[in-house]
């Protein structure tokens, strides 16, 4: 337990030092999407009977909770390849669970901050949605899954460059296609089937449903839990791989 706290506390102390920079970073891309897509272009369009801004904001919550929680992979890598701080954890008498759980919780904390930023932005744009427990649950499960994936991949990569590749080839496409910017139903059947594989598609669906005040279906939640557990177990296994 102490080990878990140490890992988490370290991330939080660093986050505290970078707080305003980090917060600004979290605001930039949602703000650009809101202005460019929601405000300027989507003014007249209606999606699911709502304005595009209303459609977009839950998508941005899904996207940011994914990218921010996945973002710990970069920090883990910098700590591992440039500062060698990861060795402190390897040499410490703590279990892999403590390490993975500490980092995952740090990723989730960042995701929560990012969501709060989007909520503030949405108020500025005059959009009011339902921000009830189902929305938070979906966002948390989403960030849990992607933080766990981040830890696993950060342990497996051999360099920081590999990490950037993964982000470009896995996370960025998912961020655009996973039901964030447009309804997946607008795509042909085969494409919908493919996108159903992406965890983010389910997170977007659940978050958007909850934000629109609908009673959410249970499947997206179950899928997110299953994916999260799978990534977490994967992460546990990869910590040993990081020893050369």
């Amino acid at each position: 337990m102490q080990g878990f706290i140490a890992v988490y506390l370290r991330e939080m102390r660093i986050l505290k030092r970078r707080f305003w920079r980090q917060l600004a970073g979290m605001a930039v891309s949602p703000l650009l999407y809101l202005i460019a897509l929601g405000y300027a272009m989507g003014g007249a369009a209606r999606f699911d009977g709502r304005s595009y801004l209303e459609f977009l904001i839950p998508g941005l919550i899904a996207m940011s909770s994914m990218t921010q929680s996945f973002g710990i992979a970069t920090d883990i890598n910098v700590a591992r390849f440039y500062w060698y701080i990861f060795e402190e954890f390897q040499a410490a008498p703590i279990g892999n669970v403590a390490y993975v759980a500490g980092e995952v919780l740090a990723g989730m904390t960042r995701a929560l901050m990012a969501i709060a930023v989007i909520l503030v932005l949405s108020l500025l744009f005059g959009v009011r949605l339902h921000y009830g427990p189902w929305l938070w649950l979906a966002a948390l499960l989403n960030s849990f899954a992607f933080a766990a994936l981040a830890v696993a991949l950060a342990m497996l990569v051999k360099s920081h460059a590999d990490q950037s590749m993964l982000t470009s080839f896995v996370i960025t496409p998912m961020a655009f296609l996973g039901g964030t910017f447009f309804p997946v139903e607008r795509l042909p059947q085969w494409a919908q089937k493919m996108l159903a594989v992406l965890p983010l598609t389910h997170a977007s669906e659940a978050i958007r449903g909850a934000a629109f005040g609908e009673t959410p279906g249970v499947w997206p939640y179950l899928i997110l839990v299953a994916v999260g557990v799978a990534f977490f177990v994967l992460a546990l296994g990869t910590v040993n791989q990081a020893r050369d």
């Binding site: 102390r13 500062w83 701080i85 410490a92 008498p93």
Partner: protein, 310 residues
């Protein structure tokens, strides 16, 4: 305290360690001496759990490093070759995290941090950010950190590399003090004089093999007591003699200058491996040209032992 049996490590085709056998008793200050790439860091990384071994076994204070890795890790403190502090955090925060990782209760943590920072003479730097410290100060913080949880064994991987002579001497005396308090110390170095000055016993490591293990005095005595250096077309040559008189006589027989000095650990290493230990402070002989057989002042990097030839 440290027991290593037939330890092997391969990285792909590279054999970093080819079967190391070693026993370091409790309380000893043991030095691992070898050129770049000999496998010093690899050995320490395996013992402290940072790298997996390929074959063989090792135990720290009776705890097998593979089967009882958590118990084994509790035995050791590590000062790695490169700085691995969190530069965005303060000195105190770095130490505090280490204490938490080793399960120290809050009160003990606070007390030990204050104690150890005072010990390495950094009591006033608790709140400094690590990135504002110089290299020598960072080393001292790392030593304090490694000792925080009262380890039985302290691993120091080139603790003084890149430090100026004054700070190096301070760290040496710190290391001696730590040993006097009962900690077993395993250090690596490629500074000959460091091993000579500090170690109870030295292992010469070369290309993943231990070539010899003994006390510095015994290793040097195996070569002789006095050395004569001279420069020939083949480079710097040395010859070793049991007595000063014999060395003096041999030196006098050469006509373009020689250096008379005490045998040092490097001579022992050279004799046993046929290689030089890579160091930035290799012996340099200054010739007294035109003084016939008499001249030859020596600048001896090992310090203190250089004698003038007459």
């Amino acid at each position: 305290m440290i027991r290593i049996e037939n330890l092997r490590k391969t990285y792909g085709k590279i054999q970093a360690l080819c079967g190391i056998d070693l026993h370091v008793p409790a309380g000893e200050l043991f030095a691992y001496l070898g050129p770049n790439g000999a496998g010093k860091t690899t050995s320490i990384r395996i013992l402290t759990g940072l790298t997996r071994l390929s074959a063989g076994a090792a135990a720290l204070n009776g705890h097998d490093i593979a089967a009882q890795s958590t118990a084994a890790k509790r035995q050791c403190g590590l000062v790695p070759q490169h700085v691995n502090l969190d530069s965005e955090l303060t000195v105190g925060e770095n130490l505090d995290l280490h204490g938490r990782l080793f399960g120290m209760p809050a009160a003990t943590r606070r007390q030990r941090i204050a104690e150890l920072l005072a010990y390495v003479e950094l009591g006033d730097r608790v709140h400094s950010l690590v990135k504002q410290l110089s290299g020598g100060l960072k080393r001292r913080v790392m030593i304090a950190r490694a000792l925080l949880h009262n380890p039985r064994i302290l691993f120091l991987d080139e603790p003084t590399v890149g430090l100026d002579p004054a700070i190096r001497r301070r760290i040496w005396s710190l290391i001696k003090q730590i040993q006097q308090q009962g900690t077993t110390i395993f250090l690596t170095t490629h500074y000959i004089e460091e091993a000579e000055f500090l170690a109870d016993r030295v292992a010469f490591l070369d290309s993943g093999r231990i070539v010899a293990v003994d006390s510095p005095t015994a290793l040097m005595a195996g070569v002789g007591h006095w050395a004569v250096d001279w420069v020939s077309d083949a480079g710097l040559q040395s010859a070793y003699f049991p007595s000063r008189e014999a060395a003096q006589a041999a030196g006098a027989a050469r006509h373009n200058g020689f250096t008379l000095r005490r045998v040092n650990l490097e001579d022992a290493f050279l004799t046993l491996t046929g290689k030089k230990v890579a160091t930035d402070a290799n012996a340099q002989t200054v010739h007294g040209q035109g003084h016939g057989a008499h001249a030859a002042a020596t600048r001896n990097p090992t310090g203190g032992q250089a004698k003038k030839g007459h």
